[in-house]
Point group: C3
Chain length 348, copies 3
């Protein structure tokens, strides 16, 4: 961490997170870090006892852990969930981005008929077009663009240089990273004799509460109606979500994934990096799609798939294993056939 | 659709698109929608009779269709091409983006020696550098950047936050979506003893008439000469087109496709999502490249390929089928060999 | 090349690059181009004698080459490395982007406590937040955003519309192309009962000297500490580099590659287009990862891998060959078994 300004005792930290100290509670903690990067004075955390070796090698002075450890030279703060407790410590004591002033920067261009809630921060060179509504507590960083008739719920955070086209809706506490484009036209043409005539894309995008959208990701507006991102879904960088896609709540969509038009994805679906989902299909709740998988058919709830074309992960693994063994399997068959041929020859 | 302000009779709509009404021509139409999302009062369309079940379930009051349907409870407007007729209705009556005023916003920075045609709209915080020419009827939305000595033909539409580097040329009626970058340096280095020295990229990009380019897509400038996108070609979001690529007319290039340097692609080529085409090869006119295919060799005209490495789609399907059957095929061979061995053993 | 303003003799060019003229040294050179696009009057270069056929067909008047060629109708300039000599000629005589004036544009918003070196050019609508340090000779084009407490070394070049979030560090002579986002939050959540709680990403990004980063590429900030890009590494467009990734010096990372979190990549590694590297692994120095490969395990130094899952390239090729031959191999086995069955039947 580049800025470590902590000056607190291990005992005080333990009190803050409702933990028990094992060791010297008066130890001064001066920084926060992961086990690997920690320096003396830092507090760190042991998310899982698989990482015990990292703890042994770590220079951290204190560690959050789930139970008191044998033979540990660090001060231990025992808590039920070290990962969550550590998040709380980082949120309270870690380096904070300098806040954007809670005002509208004089260079921001807010057109007429824009409604802006209380306690809003709008940075320089932001453009908000007529008819939009910005909820209380929103932070809209420099150079963002918000088109006509958009709605942002309370406490949304737009990082610099986000583009939201006309008539899109964001719920409460949505976070959008730099360079993302929400509501560009869907990719739709009526092709007659090889010439592609643009199909108007007159729908919009509807983003639920607590959604986070990564840098340079694009989510296209629907042909009609809405492209939908369900509440609590987290989307990484450079993801492409096409028009009319419906994504359920609390999903995880990793970097460079592509989802083609009109596909409906259930709740709690996890799609790992660079995977692709074809258009006009349905993915059931709780499905897990492995990295780089290519999904071209409906998936039932809780399916776990891998490969291209994607298939059940156990089937995939068996097939991969069979394929890898096949040359040797065939060599053995050849040897047995040759032996049979030799023996039949002898019998002549 | 979020805004439905229509108030027109089915008969009037039919007249507008040159169709025949079957049913009550005085029915009032109040909205436009797809079959699935339609509410009572909406007009929709039946693109293909495969979707007849959707029509039966639809709440639409009227439907555009190719021929009069039996047992249809909706008002029918019979036209030669329901899809195209519906596009016309949406263009005429659908929700319109509020137009950007036909003026140069006072915050736009237009350097000296820029030529701007009639009826041009330029939004706030646009930067146009010296030597550029902007054709009549162009719309350049907020925060776009146009470098030195660019040429934009008539009626181009740049959505917010498009970047066009120096000396690029756009034809007539080109549409570019937010975040796209036209004319960044090609990725070229001369590597000597492991150190990569930048090769100057002094060419540019030449984009034909009626091209559409998706959000956050990047098209690099040529080392010399031009990277070329042919007239009528449509490119989706997050596509990467490298330096010196030549793409023909009326192509379709879907999301997240990558085309490596100096490859020449013919007319009417369709490349589906996440496919990749290697550098320095030729793709013939009318070729179709399936989603996620990896093309590493020249393709003849009208080739249809799939897989990685990409191969003829029938060959691909036969190979996939053979592979999937192979474990069972081998099991059967093993059983026959075991039977032969047993019988030979008996004969001893 | 769109602008050819050269007026120099072949002899003078040869002197500039330390070469020997074979042919008429007084020939006037009026342009610079690749062999294929060259017009009469142009100088071009023969990088490799494999391209001799292109030279024969070229309209160039002069050519840089490694040795005097037989039967060549062009003026030859013989140099040790024609590619490097040609780069020098293009850098000296090729079309130059019109320079950004060496001043701070009056519309740039430079917050308090920003330190700016000598000879810096800052374009319109740039925002630089408090605490940042801009080295001498930097060029920061229009609409860039630099967050709080960033450090840019000397002679960095930011193309228009680059975003650098707070506390990131760039070395000397770093080039970043339009739309790139440096320092967005890493993609990390603690998921409890299906709800994803954001893990603060309080680290930053550290970019070494002479790094080049492509258009719309994203490099996320570390959870703690730094995401690191080593000196001299070149990164193409639309690449995704996740939090806590460490990339060594002098690497080449091509378009649309994705590298997942906490992976450590050695020096001089080459990763070709659309490849993916999973998280928490190590790639040894000098490894080469083929286009579209999916790397899911540690790789030793100098490994060359291909396929998904990626494996040694010779192993990959043998497996591909075996797979392709397998249907015929199995047909042959079937025929031999049928023959054995027939002969055993006869013997009954």
């Amino acid at each position: 961490m580049t800025a470590n300004t902590l000056d607190i005792s291990a005992g005080q930290l333990a009190t803050e997170v409702g933990g028990q100290v094992v060791g010297d509670a008066t130890t001064t903690i001066t920084g926060i870090s992961g086990l690997t990067e920690a320096r003396p004075g830092d507090v760190s955390f042991l998310a899982d006892e698989r990482y015990l070796a990292l703890l042994t090698d770590s220079k951290a002075s204190a560690v959050l852990c789930r139970r008191a450890l044998d033979d540990c030279d660090k001060v231990q703060i025992v808590v039920a969930d070290p990962n969550l407790a550590f998040i709380e410590i980082v949120e309270r004591h870690g380096p904070q981005p300098r806040p954007l002033p809670r005002r509208i920067h004089p260079t921001a261009i807010i057109e007429d008929h824009v409604t802006i809630g209380d306690d809003v921060a709008i940075g320089p060179y932001v453009v908000i077009r007529a008819g939009s509504v910005i909820g209380s507590g929103c932070t809209i960083n420099a150079q963002c663009f918000i088109g006509n008739d958009c709605q942002l719920g309370e406490r949304c955070l737009l990082h610099p240089r986000v583009t939201i086209r006309e008539r899109c809706r964001l719920g409460t506490a949505v976070i959008i990273h730099a360079g993302a484009v929400i509501g560009a036209d869907g990719f739709g043409y009526a092709s007659v004799a090889g010439v592609h005539r643009k199909i108007p894309q007159v729908g919009s995008v509807d983003i639920g509460d607590d959604v986070e959208i990564g840098a340079n990701t694009t989510i296209d507006r629907a042909r009609f109606d809405h492209t939908v991102i369900g509440a609590g879904t987290k989307i990484d960088n450079l993801v492409m979500i096409a028009h009319n896609v419906q994504i359920g709540a609390h999903g995880i969509i990793c970097g460079q994934v592509g989802i083609a038009g009109s596909t409906a994805i259930g709740d709690g679906v996890m799609i790992l990096g660079q995977a692709a989902v074809t258009g006009h299909i349905r993915i059931g709740d709780g499905a897990v799609i492995a990295g780089r998988a290519g999904v071209s058919k409906n998936l039932p709830a809780k399916a776990t798939v891998r490969g291209n074309p994607a298939r059940d992960i156990r089937e995939f693994q068996q097939q991969e294993l069979a394929l890898r063994r096949m040359p040797r399997t065939i060599d053995k068959l050849q040897a047995r056939i040759a032996e049979l041929e030799r023996r039949l020859e002898e019998k002549r």
